[in-house]
Structure formats: C-alpha cells, structure tokens
Amino acid sequence: MYAQMVKSTGQGVKDPSEMTDQERAFQERIDRGDRIEPKDWMPEHYRKTLIRQIGQHAHSEIVGQLPEGNWITRAPTLERKAILLAKVQDEAGHGLYLYCAAETLGVSRDQLTEDLLSGKMKYSSIFNYPTLNWADMGAVGWLVDGAAIMNQVPLQRTSYGPYARAMVRICKEESFHQRQGYDIMMKMAKGTPAQKNMAQDALNRTWFPALMMFGPSDAESVHSAQSMAWKIKMNSNDELRQKFVNETVPQAEFLGLTVPDPDCKWNEEKGGYDFSEPDWSEFFDVIKGNGPCNTERLAARNKAWDDGKWVRDGLMAHAEKKEARRVAAE
C-alpha cells in the first residue's frame, strides 16, 4: 500500500475500562462513525500515527512520479504522452492534498519533506522498482494504482475528516489512472509479438511487488489492531490482497497474459483464488533501502530539493520585498 507497516502505540487496543474519560468519549465518537476534525481533542498516538500514515502516503505520491516520469519523454504517441503527463500531474496534486491533510495535525510540509529526504520517513516499497519497457506504464496503472484503490476506497470513510476528504478526490482520479493503465496493457497484449512480450515482461516483474504493497500479514499486529479500532485502517492486509488477486487474475486472463505464479488457481470452496506469498525477505530488503532503485529515487528527490533551494529562496525573498513595499506605500 502507499502507507506500509505504520506503527501506532505498539501496546494493543486499550480496554474501555483502562481509558481516561476523554479517551473513552473519543473512541465512542469513532465507533458511532463521527468524523474527527483538526480542532477536536485526539489522543497523541492517534495524531502521531496519522502523521506517519498520511506522510508516508504523500511521500509515495511524490516519489511515485519518478518511475512514470521515466517514460514521459519516450511515450510512443502524443496522446499517450498527454495522458501520462496528466497522470503524473495528478500524483503531484495528491501529494499536495495529503501534505495539507497532514499539516492539520501540526506538522509542516517542509518537516515531512526533510524526513523523506533524510530517509527517516518511508514511502511505498513499489516505487523502488524500475520501469523498463513501455508496458510498465500499463502495469503500473493497472496493478499499482489498482492495489492502491483497494485500500483507498475504504479510506474515504476513515475517521479523520481531512484525510477522508482528500481520499474522495484521490479515488476519483485513481480509477482513471487504473483504466488508462489497463488500456495500455490491452493495446500491448493485443499488439505485435514484441509488444506482447513487453506486456508479459512487465506483468512478470510487477506482480509480486504489487502484492507486497499490501504489506505482510497483519493478523497478529498490535499496530494494525489499534489503527483499525481508530478507523484509520479499514481492512486487514490479507483481506485486501485477496480482494486484489480475485479482481486482477481474470483481467490478466482477458489480456491473454499469465500471472507469474503457477500456484495461482481458483478455489471454489473459499470463492477466491489461492496464490503464492511474495518473497517477504525481498520486501524487507526494499524497506531497508536495498530495493533496485532506492538509491536513485532518494537521490533524485534530494537533487530536486537541493537544486531548487535558490528558486524557493528567491521567490520567498521577492514575496517579502513586495510585502515591505506595500507596507511602505501605505
């Protein structure tokens, strides 16, 4: 997911009898389905967990521009180039709404940015994989945005108002992203033999990293249980992963492509597909910074930030001069 393994209190969900009156009233509001707004009282851990989660989601949108940006200058037609530009622009916009939502919790965008650039905060593991052929633009839209939607649609009902509202706007755009991705895959899968090879190659490389996006099983996770009690996580990782596989495998079949998992089979009894677990040691390597593109992604963001310092400083200095001139004229 765009936010993976977000830590909460680490102590499990408190029993109502252990809660203070304020905490109990807060939990009751959440249980009733009330929205928590920035000026409302909230437990410190709720605030901190949300900052981590929304911040990580925002960073994923920002870093997520890079693997697709990699193909904008090589898009094969003017229309594809325009669509891809629009999509990457949407992602920057999502980053902006999410940073704004995080700011309502008392953290600045600059602080979050510093934490991303120093490696203190994470972004989704998926963006540390390379995009190697044009069909990757299809696979990213279809599978990566598809996986993100699984998580983000329920988050429209999350307990924190600014986050839920940001998610409503984001979901509208994500479904367009997924459709355009599938549309690229259709063209490729029904195209020349070379194009079909590109499509299969992209699916082979993206399948397991997409499954990893949901994070390892969190059935036993205390963090997860707390986040679910607070309704800032709506479904378990396994539940979402299963839903994703159930929806995606028939789409791959329709394309005439093969999911790179020989054990992926329909299970009549459970009414869903059985499938292999991704290689979780690879997942933890990527999270630790050893994914194929971690170094490049972070270096690219750091370079953009460092090279842009004179621009940000210049525009700030101008705004201050302008304001001083306005005051002097009064």
Binding site: I62, Q65, L66, G69, I72, T73, R74, A75, P76, T77, L78, E79, R80, K81, A82, L85, A86, V88, Q89, A92, G93, G95, L96, Y99, R109, W134, I184, K187, G191, T192, A194, Q195, A300, K303, A304, W305, D307, G308, K309, W310, V311, R312, D313, G314, L315, M316, A317, H318, A319, K321
Partner: protein
Amino acid sequence: MQQDALFEYLLRLGDNTLVLGHRVSEWCGHAPALEEDIALANVALDLIGQTQLWLGLAGEVEGTGRSADYLAMLRDVWDFRNVLLVEQPNGDFGQTIMRQFLFDLWHVLVLDALQASSNTQVAEIAEKALKEARYHLERSSDTVIGLGDGTVESHDRMQAALDLLWPYIGEFFEPDAIDLAAQENGVGPDLSRLEAAYREQLDRVLKQACLTAPTDFFAHKGGKTGFRHSEHLGHLLTQMQWLQRAYPGASW
C-alpha cells in the same frame, strides 16, 4: 495560401509547441517545489494538446495521410520547423523559466493575431490555444519577476539565463517567404508589428525583474526554416521517437 506553404506554416506552430512541451516534460518529478512540478506538467500538457491540433491540421492540409503522431514521431531533424529557442536544453530552473517566458510572450501575440486568420481552422485553434498561452505567460512572467527581484543568487542566475537565451529571440521576427506568404493571404500576422509589441512588453517585465537586456541584437537562425537546427534537437528526437522507430508499424 499555397498548400505547401500553409503546411510549412502549420509545422512551425506545431513543432514549437511539440519541442517545448517535450522539454518542459523533462522536468516531471524534479522541480524545485511541488507547486512547480504541477505547473510545469500543466504547461507541458497544454503544449502537447496544442501540438495535436496544429500537426493534425498540418497533416490534413498536406493530404498524404500523415497524422499528427506520424509528423511528430517519424520526421528527422531537418524536417522540423521549430525556432531554435525551444530546443535549447532546460539548464537550471532559471533557464527553463526564462525560455518559457520569452516563448510565451511571443506565443500570446501570435495566437492573438491568428484569431483573425483568414483560415477559419487556424483561427479556431488559435482561439483555444490563446486561453492557455495567456495563463502560461502570466505564470512565467511572474516567476521571472520573482526570481529576478529575489536574492542575489536568483537574480544572477536569471540574468545569466537572459544573456544565454537573448540571441534566440530574433528568429521569431525574421520573416521569410513562408511568413510573407501567410501575411499576404491573411493567414498569419505581420511579424514586424508583433516585434514592436514584444519588445515593449519584454522591457516592462525585465524592468520589474531588475534584469538588464543585452544591447547586442545578433540573432541565431535556422530553426524555423529547418536549414540548421542546434545539435540538441537530434538528441531530443532520439528519445522522443525511439519507440516508434524501434517498432515500426505497431499501434500503441
């Protein structure tokens, strides 16, 4: 206007937006601030959209079945008709925004004039594109002013960008047989009249930006006639056209 001259004239309009749109799109994900990333992508998107219209019409006028995509992806350097300014590399953000400003200022003037074109299809595209170009100009001139009148460093970088790109302005206004044919047929404007308006507005913005216009009026040329592009264009096309060249005949 003769069909082949009109075709050339339309290529100039479409190649300018194509090449500049491509250059601006190279910034994607690497801009100095999130707002700039969004704005640059937006400008690139508008320019690519305009390219589809201009090159689409060029293909129609030519009448041999070449589409906008064909014209964009399968012509070589010598067949491109964009001015040299737009193919110049992005450089730092200052160079990118100065190049954008110098282009936007011309673009707004030319599109405004083209709204009155005797060719109704040209007039219609110009009307649509002008709305976008006005917004581009507002943003690029504000940014040039902001950075020119910002810190010492931002000022010096903007002055360096202006000095570097200054010799590429003149090509806009140097009329050749195609421009004159467009003017005579009422398809396009009188370039000398545009130049006066351009220089006047340019001076106004540079003054606010605390920047000094170079006094040398030397102008590089050869882009819009296609006679002699810079070395940069070939590399840009190598990237832009790669898939279409490597997999001929595929549908994307």
